[in-house]
Structures are given as C-alpha cells and as structure tokens.
Subunit: 186 residues, 2 copies
C-alpha cells in the first residue's frame, strides 16, 4: 500500500497555494471600470496595474452542488483617486451560500451589504476570521501600504453576481481623506 504524497499545498504563513490545478483570476485597473467613484482617475492609471489576484483550487467544476473551492486573495496597495484598492465585491448567484475569509497578512476592511442595502464594515487583520452569511454581498479593501492577503473557502455552486454591485454600489466607499481612512456614504 503506497502512501500518496500531498498533491496540494497551502502555506499557512503566506496563504500561497501550489500544486495541481491551481487557478488564478487577476483584476487590473482596466477590469475595474465602474467600480470606483473617480472614473477619470481610473482611466488615467496605467491600465495593467494589478488591483487584486485570486489563487484558487477547484476540485470539481464550477456549479457542482456540495463541492467546495479554496483560495486566497491578495489585494495590492494603492488608490484610485482617494479611494483604496478593493475587490469588485459580489453576492453569490445562489444567494444562500456562505463563505469564509481568514486574514493572513496586511490589514483592511471587509464591507458587507445585505439585500436591503444595509452596509457594514469589519476590520481585517492577521488572524481575523469572517463569515459571510447568506444573501450578503462582500468586498475587501486594502487600507495600508502592504498587500492584504486572506484565505477563503466557498461552495462550488455559489457563483458570483457582480452586476447588482455595479448598478447600486456598495453603500459605503473607503477613502483616504487628509491622510486618514474615512468611510463615505455613496
């Protein structure tokens, strides 16, 4: 009986995934049209600058009921105008699917918004664990000068719904105003 060597690796200290079939999604400035308040600043940016990167393992096809995906996200430091780099944010296409984030490096905010457009912000810092409940949109924001890195686990049939966020926004924007992180209502 042969013992199988692990085919997948997750570095607990850095969040880096390696091994078989690791996927990657990258969001650059050019992919973020419509998400920042200051679209002119976004257009003036080098369009290839990385805003965030998601590394993930998907052992089953997207949409499979009962399966799970495992990943990590790096939100790079930066601002578009005075608004910090952030993820697009999404609801799950199957609304009752939950998700975990656990922060590994850096510091930021996790914005959550329910279906009634009630928005709140949780602090992310190394060791914070966050549960995204059913029907709650989530967006992460890097408010520092170092990368924000967090792990994630979510159902393989959750899906992503970005359109609603583009349409109605996220309730709050996170900006640097006079050198201080500030939450601003839309």
């Amino acid at each position: 009986m042969k013992i199988i060597k692990p085919k997948l690796h997750y570095d607990n200290m850095t969040g880096v995934l390696s091994g078989e079939a690791i996927g990657e999604k990258i969001a650059r400035i050019k992919d973020m049209a419509g998400f920042y308040a200051d679209e002119n600043s976004r257009k003036r940016f080098d369009q290839d600058v990385l805003v965030y990167r998601v590394q993930y393992y998907s052992p089953v096809p997207e949409g499979t009921e009962g399966g799970l995906f495992f990943g990590n996200t790096t939100v790079f430091p930066g601002k578009v105008g005075d608004e910090y780099f952030m993820t697009k944010g999404h609801y799950h296409a199957i609304g009752n699917r939950g998700e975990y984030y656990w922060c590994i490096e850096g510091s930021g905010l996790l914005l959550m918004m329910d279906q009634d457009n009630h928005t709140w912000a949780e602090e992310m810092l190394p060791g914070s664990l966050h549960y995204m409940p059913a029907y709650v949109a989530h967006r992460s924001i890097n408010v520092r000068k170092e990368p924000l890195v967090f792990g994630a686990c979510w159902p393989s049939d959750a899906g992503h719904e970005y359109g609603l966020i583009l349409e109605k926004g996220f309730g709050l924007r996170v900006k640097e105003i006079k050198g201080a992180m500030t939450l601003v209502k839309y």
Copy 2:
C-alpha cells in the same frame, strides 16, 4: 459609521480558534469503543485520555443548506495497542458534500474510502491541503509523538455518518510494527 472589530480569530500558525460561540467536540478513549482493532487494549487504557479534539465555529444551525462550518482538529499522539490514535472517521450524511483539511502542525495520514470500500492514504504534513470529495469517508491518524493539528471547512448540512465505519471498518489500519509505521489491511 463604526468599524466592527473582528468577533472571530483563527491563528494561522497554530489553528486555534477564539472569539464568539466556538464549539468543541472531544473524543476520549471511552468514546472510541469499536474503532480500534485491539478492544482489550482500549479497555485497559485510562478512559479519560483525550484522543482528539475538534474546535469549530458554526454560524448557522447544523443542517442549514448553503452555510459553512470552520474548525480545527487536534489528534493527540498515542497508540491503542500498536494502532495509532485516530479520529473515528465519517462519511457525510448528505453524501455529495465535500470538505477541506489543511495541515498546520505535526504529521499523519489521511485515510479516505469510497463507497466501494476502496481505501487510500495521503500524507499530512504542515502545508498539505486535502480535499475530501463527494461520497468519500475520511479519517485522520497521528503517526508521530507530537500533536497533529489541521484546519477544516465543511458545509453546515453535511452531517456525520459514523455507523457505516463502525460496521465495515476503514479498509486499512495504521500501526507501529517493529518501530515503523505500517499499513495493515483489515
């Protein structure tokens, strides 16, 4: 707008969970009747000795569709006769639910068994990531003298089915024979 302090903490280096509503399941020698080959050795053991402990966060009631639980397991070092300390092992009651384990400390084996009683073993070591697919039972075994610690994430409606394991076993036992870890067929 107040920023909410994280209510939950997951120590990336040790796997320890802390904060609100963390549950705990403990398995002692007395809880393991029928799982080890050598039931006489098990009976002679101090019945209160810890075999393993699961710390977990359950943001929704057990059985909720779409939710996720997050936990960590410590399998303590030890043997019952020549058989290493291990978890009971389980299928999920809803068979198509998957699960992740990621090893944080220590070293061990992850036994997996499909519904045709085909059994295999993967090495667990710090940084190994393991996906338990649909309809596959899983058991973890500490083959060293230090605790084996791993994180886990699983659907809140997965449930646990232990009876089948008690009935048909797990295909392989992991024993220390002449000082060496050895896999033995049932």
